[in-house]
């Protein structure tokens, strides 16, 4: 009962909050008629960017600017991390990080994934945490919001997609930073540590010595959640009591995980000038989200199977392994968070996904496979746009009319790019998992055997390709093959699903608008919603069902 109340409050409350946020994001990212104060601000942003901050960019120039800036992000943060042992802000004397691990980590945070093959409190100095990783958590999220803004401008029929350097600063300074300042203050009030002092050694009541790692956690955690980043300050992420001290910080974290992704949908609707269409898309996403939450909460009610034959252990509902007591019911916030964090591309965890019941563990995987249930900030809506193009095209073919989207004809070129985007995601996950499942690269790194071992590999590639970052963390993934393979997958599948959709939008923007007629397929009614939902589910099921059968479904059938 308390679980149902929690789900309703978190999801419903955030959905309500996202509406005014979307309105604000439209003002921040794509101002119509700016007042004098806003104009002053825009001039400052232009001055920061220099001469290139002024001209409008078409989709190609916009993409080039984005890729160059992202390359700088990679290089700068690589530098800080590679030199951490020589630099200040290292009170616990952390040593050099191994090369392939730096590559993987920097690729991971640049691509907004935050897959972590290291443990923060063990490997990273405060300088690496703040100047490499937390900085990337701001600007990689801002990159996603900027990309969606550009896409929406293209779909609104503008040939010029804006200026990337300005959009990135708007997203950073006007959207992420104010939100982070508010939320981080609340986190501080919620007992979260925020200090630059190093670890402290306690003499426990039984006379042992316990070294307790601390750090600037509140600042880091906040942008981790708001920017759908997910990379934890500590190894076990938001299960760590310092990274999530109370039930209330846990609830606030869940709100932050989905808030800006939800707001992005409304912002998109406002920029393209189709709020009703945005409402339909939002509705489809919400249906998918609630379906996954229902599934995961339900499956997590089953007691831990490993204790089933022990009469001296109480048999009550819920699987407690990997859960924290302060977050309440074991089938409440754990499975709810698992779905929220993988529907958006956040990837932080407040329970150990490796220890979820088999079918519960499948729900996060489904989230990452579809990757468009609100999705990452900005990019989630871009992924949904690709599904929309496919749905519109299929619907057009079914009724024998030229498919149109927002008064532009969708033709073979756009459809090819859309299908390519969907296929690349599937390819990276399935081929990657297949290779690692049959070679020692994967097999020698497992923490569980049988189908659950396969799930660990499948989850890791799903997480990398979806730019999610959560994991079945038992996997011993800090090896050169894992670091290189997932590093490459994260980078490729960060930029492919931005480049190709922007190319689609660019190609649509230069077409002559078609006149709306009685035969035009409406994209803002229930028929379209059903069509879109069916498209997403059919593509997802056809692609990933066989893999799901080998992993979580096989484990459930064999052992539960």
């Amino acid at each position: 009962m308390s679980a149902i109340l929690l789900v309703t409050l978190i999801v419903g409350g955030t959905a309500l909050l996202s509406w005014p946020l979307g309105r604000y994001m439209k003002w921040a990212m794509d101002p119509d008629d700016a007042g004098p104060r806003r104009q002053r601000l825009e001039r400052i942003l232009q001055r920061i960017a220099g001469p290139l901050g002024r001209p409008q960019q078409d989709w190609k120039l916009y993409l080039i600017a984005m890729l160059v800036f992202n390359a700088i992000m990679f290089v700068v943060s690589f530098g800080f991390m590679a030199l951490q042992q020589h630099l200040p802000l290292n009170p616990d004397a952390k040593e050099a990080v191994e090369g392939s691990l730096i590559f993987n980590t920097v690729a991971s945070f640049t691509s907004n994934t935050n897959l972590q093959h290291y443990s923060g409190e063990v490997a990273m100095s405060y300088l690496s945490q703040l100047f490499s990783l937390m900085w990337l958590q701001f600007v990689s999220a801002a990159t996603g919001i900027a990309a969606l803004t550009a896409l929406a401008r293209g779909l609104a029929g503008r040939k010029e997609m804006g200026n990337f350097f300005i959009d990135l600063q708007r997203a950073t300074f006007l959207v992420l930073l104010p939100a982070a300042l508010i939320v981080a203050t609340l986190m501080v009030l919620g007992s979260m540590p925020m200090t630059l002092a190093g670890s402290v050694t306690a003499s426990t009541l039984e006379g042992a010595q316990q070294v307790i790692a601390r750090g600037p956690v509140a600042a880091f955690l906040t942008i981790k959640q708001l920017g759908t980043n997910g990379g934890g300050f500590f190894g076990p992420n938001s299960t760590h009591p310092f990274e999530n001290p109370t039930f209330w910080t846990n609830a606030l974290s869940m709100i932050c995980i989905i808030l800006i992704s939800m707001g992005s949908v409304w912002m998109f609707g406002r920029i393209v000038g189709r709020r009703r269409h945005a409402a339909v898309v939002f509705g489809v996403m919400l249906v998918l989200l609630l379906a996954k939450i229902t599934g995961s909460v339900w499956f997590e009610r089953a007691p831990t199977q490993a204790f089933a034959n022990l009469p001296a252990v109480e048999q009550v509902a819920g699987n407690f392994e990997g859960k924290e007591t302060r977050f309440g019911s074991p089938y409440g916030s754990g499975p709810l968070w698992a779905v929220l964090t993988t529907s958006t591309s956040n990837g932080s965890v407040d329970s150990m996904h490796d220890s979820l019941n088999p079918l519960t563990g499948m729900m996060p995987m489904i989230g990452m496979w579809l990757n468009a249930t609100f999705g990452g900030v900005g990019v989630g809506m871009i992924n949904m746009f690709v599904y929309i193009i496919i749905a519109v095209f299929v619907a057009g073919m079914m009724v024998g009319r030229t498919p149109e989207y927002l008064n532009r004809r969708v033709e073979a070129r756009e459809m090819k790019l859309a299908v390519l985007t969907v296929l690349s995601h599937a390819l990276f996950i399935l081929v990657g998992a297949a290779i690692f499942a049959v070679t020692p690269w994967g097999r020698d790194t497992l923490n569980n055997w049988g189908p659950h071992g396969f799930s660990e590999i499948l989850y890791e590639f799903s997480s990398a390709s979806a730019n999610n970052g959560s994991g079945f963390e038992g996997l011993g993934d800090n090896t050169v093959p894992w670091n290189v393979a997932t590093g490459l997958v994260m980078l490729l599948n960060r930029y492919i699903p931005i480049i190709l959709p922007l190319a689609i939008a660019g190609s649509l923007a230069v077409k002559r608008p078609t006149a709306q007629s009685a035969g035009t397929l409406s994209v803002q009614d229930a028929t379209f919603a059903a069509m879109l939902l069916a498209t997403i589910l059919i593509i997802g099921a056809l692609t990933f069902f066989p893999a799901a059968v080998l992993g979580p479904i096989a484990e459930h059938l064999l052992f539960m």
Binding site: A71, Q169, N309
Partner: protein
């Protein structure tokens, strides 16, 4: 080349604002408003020695103390983690069998499941009120205290972490054990 220069400029400004500025502000707010929790909710004893953190579980094995939940990392405060075992894993069964023996649990007095299941971070500072009451008889016996007194202490320390949104009450193990020590000394 021109994009490169623009990128570097924007990078430097975002580092200055979002890393130095933002961290500085939050650090200031935290150290000003909540210096205790901002530094890790540390507990010091009468001699000024840090005995632990309210938020970090520590290892208890003596019968006169309440025991924390099992930890996959042996309560390592500088390298936290969970077991990451599948709930179908026999490794978990083996661990549970050991714990059943340690607690002396029987089918008539079965162990609450959270006391055989490791937490996500291995540092969960709480156990449920139910799991604390389960241990009350052992603690009272080891300290020679009347069980009712220990149970009253548990009830005093129990709280609902999320009000109506959480089904039961929990207790902080370290704080409970400290209170226990204090009440035993003052006897």
């Amino acid at each position: 080349m021109r994009s490169l220069i623009a990128s570097v400029r924007v990078a430097l400004v975002t580092i200055a604002v979002c890393v130095i500025g933002y961290t500085g502000v939050i650090l200031g707010v935290a150290q000003l408003l909540e210096p205790d929790t901002a530094n890790g909710s540390l507990i010091t004893n009468a001699d000024g020695v840090v005995v632990g953190s309210r938020l970090i579980a520590q290892k208890f094995t003596a019968p006169e103390y309440f025991w924390s939940r099992p930890s996959a990392v042996d309560y390592n405060g500088a390298g936290a983690g969970g077991s990451n075992k599948s709930p179908t894993s026999t490794d978990l069964t083996d661990r549970a069998v050991e714990l059943v023996a340690q607690y002396g649990a029987t089918p008539d007095k079965p162990l609450p499941p959270e006391l055989v299941a490791a937490s996500g971070g291995g540092l969960d500072p709480h156990i449920s009120e139910h799991a604390a009451l389960y241990q009350a008889a052992r603690v009272a016996g080891a300290r020679g205290l009347p069980p009712a007194r220990v149970e009253a202490l548990i009830r005093d320390h129990a709280f609902a972490p999320g009000g109506p949104l959480t089904p039961g009450r929990v207790v902080n193990v370290l704080e409970l054990n400290l209170a226990l020590d204090a009440s035993t000394e003052s006897r």
